[in-house]
């Protein structure tokens, strides 16, 4: 019987199946960062247990680390203790790779894994972080877990799982210039809602998806969780294989040849059946901007803020009204007229080299609007930063008035000093516009790197398609 990609990956990892369908699933790669792991290591120790397979672990510090003045170390004592706890835990148990604070390869865990070839097709990848769905771009079964499950994976190399339903998101056609993977992700969320993918494993397919680079596919899978799905995937093709060739932890020589033969089977068979199929036309997707406090509160750049009065569902209407109050916006305001205080280019959604190149292309030779308080570029990893500097992107950003920072999660969740002040409005390339996400009282609008760059220059949102 023809199988979906998800079914193949599932079958390949079942260690044991109980009568009720709960399965013990083997975990190939365990990504670890400082925020969700300390209690897991402590629990392991308290129970007198040993980690099962430390060579599955790739660890880095990212959420809490500062993005400037690295010479001063981590000034916040509570954050420093957490990062030091990660250091101590990894030094004690070991890992395949560890990129501590200030390491040249340190960075956001979901940027670091793939760029080092530590994420390989067909793997199960887990991390105590919901955006682990990112790694599904490599045809992996990759999803976020809680800290109890981090401990469970450390102790047993397995997780207890129930099989998800499957949803195919087919996007066919050609994306217009200036329309990116981020816009596709937001357009999908606009269509199915933030709970639309709950209980499903998503597979993104169609000619528009095949046309995306690996980095674009990572952006898309990264946002699967914002559509309610724990995991999103893209099948292996030549783009996948080309990306992996020569990466530090990718196989080499004869092993590479064998691996590639296997990887090519990692796609849904023709005629495989999905529990749900959603189709979008790439041509219909325009640059997206969120206006509210949930990623599903999103419209195209040439639209206006929607009017709650037009919403028939009372719970939804109340949610919209509350969002507009929080965002300090009125109904029917054209998106282009929304003025900004800060711009943030970064996060595991959009901080890879192609994101920075695309933003730099918009910014080149121009100046950040004088009305802006801060425009920030935070590369996803030390390697991305170095590459960007070799290409002179840092100079382009600096000359325009952007700050060029050290890698980390930064203002995506504002655990470090990079944050919005109450009432400040930000165009952000990150993935969540929840209340307070970028700082208590901060107002976030999610956009692509190109759109964020264009907004930084104009001081308000504008249609990047008109600038290209």
């Amino acid at each position: 019987m023809p199988q979906t990609l998800y079914e193949k990956l599932w079958q390949d990892h079942v260690v044991h199946q109980q009568v009720d369908g709960t399965a013990l699933i083997y975990i190939d790669r365990h990504l670890v960062h400082e925020v969700t792991s300390p209690q897991a290591f402590e629990g392991l120790k308290l129970a007198g247990r040993k980690p099962w397979r430390v060579s599955s672990i790739v660890a880095t510090a990212d959420h809490n680390t500062p993005t400037d003045h690295w010479d001063r170390g981590i000034e916040d004592p509570i954050a420093r203790l957490q990062v030091e706890t990660l250091d101590a835990n990894i030094r004690e148990v070991g890992a395949l790779a560890f990129f501590p604070f200030k390491d040249p390869r340190q960075g956001i865990v979901h940027v670091v894994g793939p760029e080092n070839g530590a994420t390989l097709p067909g793997m199960t990848v887990v991390c105590g972080d919901s955006h682990t769905s990112t790694h599904g771009a490599f045809a992996c079964m990759a999803h976020g877990i809680g800290t109890s499950e981090v401990e469970h994976v450390l102790a047993t190399q397995c997780l207890l799982q129930k099989k998800s339903k499957t949803m195919l998101l087919r996007v066919d056609g050609l994306l217009a210039k200036g329309v990116t993977a981020k816009d596709v992700a937001l357009a999908i969320i606009a269509r199915i809602g933030t709970a639309g993918g709950t209980g499903y494993a998503l597979e993104f397919a169609g000619s528009a998806i095949r046309g995306l680079s690996m980095e674009g596919r990572m952006t898309l899978c990264n946002m699967a969780i914002e559509a309610g799905a724990r995991l999103g995937m893209v099948a292996v093709d030549e783009v996948t294989i080309d990306y992996l060739r020569g990466r530090p932890f990718a196989p080499q020589g004869e092993l590479w040849e064998r691996a590639v033969v296997h990887w090519r089977t990692l796609r849904s068979d023709d005629g495989a059946e999905f529990d749900s199929v959603i189709e979008l036309s790439a041509e219909a997707i325009r640059p997206q901007v969120t206006w509210g406090t949930s990623p599903e509160m999103v419209v195209a750049i040439d639209a206006c803020v929607p009017d709650p009065a037009q919403e028939p569902d009372p719970v939804k209407r109340e949610g919209m009204e509350r969002a507009l109050v929080y965002m300090g916006l009125g109904a029917n305001v054209p998106i282009r007229e929304i003025r900004l205080d800060k711009v943030f280019i970064g996060s595991c959604t959009n901080s890879r080299i192609e994101d920075l190149r695309a933003a730099a292309a918009v910014v080149r030779g121009k100046k950040v609007a004088g009305s802006l308080r801060l425009a920030l570029v935070v590369p996803g990893s030390g390697l991305v930063k170095r590459q960007a500097e070799e290409e002179g992107l840092d100079e382009i950003f600096r000359a325009a008035g952007f700050e060029w920072r050290e890698p980390g999660c930064s203002m995506c969740l504002a655990m470090n000093a990079d944050r919005l002040e109450p009432g400040e409005r930000c165009a952000s390339t990150s993935n969540r516009n929840f209340e307070g996400r970028q700082g208590a009282g901060g107002r976030t609008h999610l956009v692509s790197p190109e759109m964020a760059a264009a907004a930084a220059i104009a001081g308000h949102f504008c249609d990047v398609r008109e600038l290209l």
Partner: protein, 212 residues
Amino acid sequence: MDKFVRLEGLVAPLDRANVDTDAIIPKQFLKSIKRSGFGPNLFDEWRYLDVGEPGKDNSQRPLKPDFVLNQARYQGAQILLTRKNFGCGSSREHAPWALLDFGFRAVIAESFADIFFNNCFKNGILPIVLPASDVDALFALVDSTPACRLLVDLEQQQVVCPDGKVLPFAVDAFRKECLLNGWDDIGLTLRHAELIKAFEERRRSEQPWLFA
């Protein structure tokens, strides 16, 4: 993990859909390396007028009087009643830790986000999915009944209202068993250690590149 069998407790209504884990416990409290002590900062931005920081004395902070958990009638609540897609967003287990530390042992909603739902069971919290009509009825009941208490019976898989009305709910058989007995997942899984080893060996020979 503490067992969950039956719970008779006060209900607090949080009438919002899509409550995310950033709202349940804001990021600044994630810097802790402990599992406990998050209760005073549960829903921090909705509960207090000022901005919370780790180490601040929460008993001295000004409260937002309108927020449901600040109202006298809901003090001591153990059951949270809310709307659909509760617990969306970040995978932080600090969210169920904060709910538990505050005193909640059960959450009733029309639907939950996957990771949060899973995390609840690992911490002895029962997330109960009820149809929208039942959730609506419960909101009305809590609104009209001072100090409304519900009986949550996991064994019978039902919520019993003060007027005797019974609302049945579904729960995964394995998760139910774990909660009823307070079982630790890791111990259960390690009973299959030989199977895991055999699987791992086979995998290592078939796909050696995964074991670099």
